[in-house]
Point group: C2
Chain length 268, copies 2
């Protein structure tokens, strides 16, 4: 198989990474994508770094076996714990969500005060805090907030439920009395909570979605490596999960403009 | 070590099993207990049967290495998928939460219509449904309801939050228009949601907690095997988790009348 005809692999702990997939489909419409959702082991957000690294390596191995030309870690927790190590081990280009998301947020802030929200794992890893500090040393203050219930609420279809609005207020309401002007959505599930989050923060705060930034970074990476497709892929996108394909199919339609027609089950 | 001086081991995916531990401490105050919370891999409720069986076996092995005389599976999902297989493999008595919980619920119902709530794994396994059918063949109707957000809400300290009341209404509100008179709490986390659940079901519905039934079954099992302690244990209870001992310590005080003084971290 010619490299340029290979697909792009991407994975997440569940369905959240589909927000990245949607952005990649919009930015790179010629590419074939292969998505793996590790639904048997969701969520990664409250797991130990060692466990997340082990899962990440297994997921990458599975997608490489499918013959991909580039890999996207479409999961913030995996990116936080595993990106650098995995990059050293891999022979194909690797793109994550944290570096591109932090870079985009840094261009938006005027007050220099950015809030980052994510899973307990992503926040406690300090990955976004370090990435922002590296981009603008000494110029950016970061308020990092773990929101461990957000991803389960999205996975269970409660994205726009009144209960989710109350939980958003609990996690984020205090930001209204700060000078935070940029809120970085540090979990691929969170774009689904856009309206719930908008309701509890000040109107002028910009919401930055790592998925958009990640899709742009992927486009640049493919271009640099001269592996972009210029004509539409022959094969359709493919979807794999490690548990409950029918539930994945049901919820995926909320994330994707063209829902999956077939989802295959693989052993985790 | 004399067998009668050994401890009783018990495990759960997180802190939920502490509801069982509290009941066991009340029912068997002389016994020393060793608790393991597999917090690195919480929750088990939406994982595949194979993954849960693997975790259950690993947890049992760890506790047996501590020199226990009996083991309690203080996790409904583990009980649902693993009890029978583990029982065949073990040389010490094993007690779960499902059989005792189902038996207690069967004694309470007058209409013969019991609702069982649990994780997605517990409910889809059909374990409670089968246990109730075996106790009273053809006499009990079961309405089984998966409540996948309940355990995460408890783990995150939202047990009595307004958001939890709304989610309880979403899951259970329809029961008010049925003849269900007994609601079986098929997850060790759920006794912490007692007041939230009470608010959304009819006053006359009896809430049955598997933890109480499990403690009674354990007392009978120890008695039958002549391994009960008649004097107070010399050693204090011991606590192990696979991730974040400090978070476990913080939340444990809501579950236990005497909170743990020390929690040890072990590799999962």
């Amino acid at each position: 198989m010619c490299e340029i005809e290979s697909a792009i692999g991407m994975f997440d702990s569940g369905i959240g990474g589909l927000t990245v997939m949607q952005r990649v489909m919009e930015r790179l419409p010629n590419e074939q994508l292969i998505y793996f959702g590790d639904t048997a082991r969701f969520p990664y957000g409250d797991k130990s770094p060692e466990v997340v690294r082990c899962y990440t390596r297994e997921n990458a191995k599975f997608l490489i076996q499918q013959g991909i030309k580039a890999l996207v870690i479409a999961c913030n927790t995996s990116s936080a714990f595993s990106f650098k190590r995995l990059q050293e081990e891999m022979s194909i280009p690797l793109v994550d969500v944290i570096g591109p998301g932090a870079a985009l947020a840094a261009t938006k802030t005027r007050t220099g005060h950015i809030a980052v929200i994510g899973t307990e794992g992503t926040i406690s890893s300090g990955a976004y805090q370090h990435a922002l500090a590296a981009i603008c040393p000494g110029k950016i203050r970061v308020t990092a907030i773990a929101c461990p219930l957000f991803a389960p609420l999205v996975e269970e279809g409660f994205s726009d439920h009144a209960a989710t609005h109350l939980i958003a207020e609990e996690y984020l309401g205090f930001l209204r009395s700060t000078d935070v002007d940029t809120l970085l959505l540090g979990c691929t599930h969170y774009p689904m909570l856009y309206s719930a989050i908008k309701k509890v923060i000040a109107d002028h705060v910009a919401l930055v979605d790592s998925a958009t930034a990640c899709a742009e970074a992927l486009a640049q990476t493919l271009h640099c490596h001269a592996i972009s497709r210029t004509t539409a892929a022959i094969h359709p996108h493919r979807y794999f999960v490690s548990y409950n394909p029918s539930k994945f199919c049901t919820h995926a339609s909320a994330f994707l403009s063209i829902p999956p027609q077939e989802v295959s089950l693989v052993a985790s």
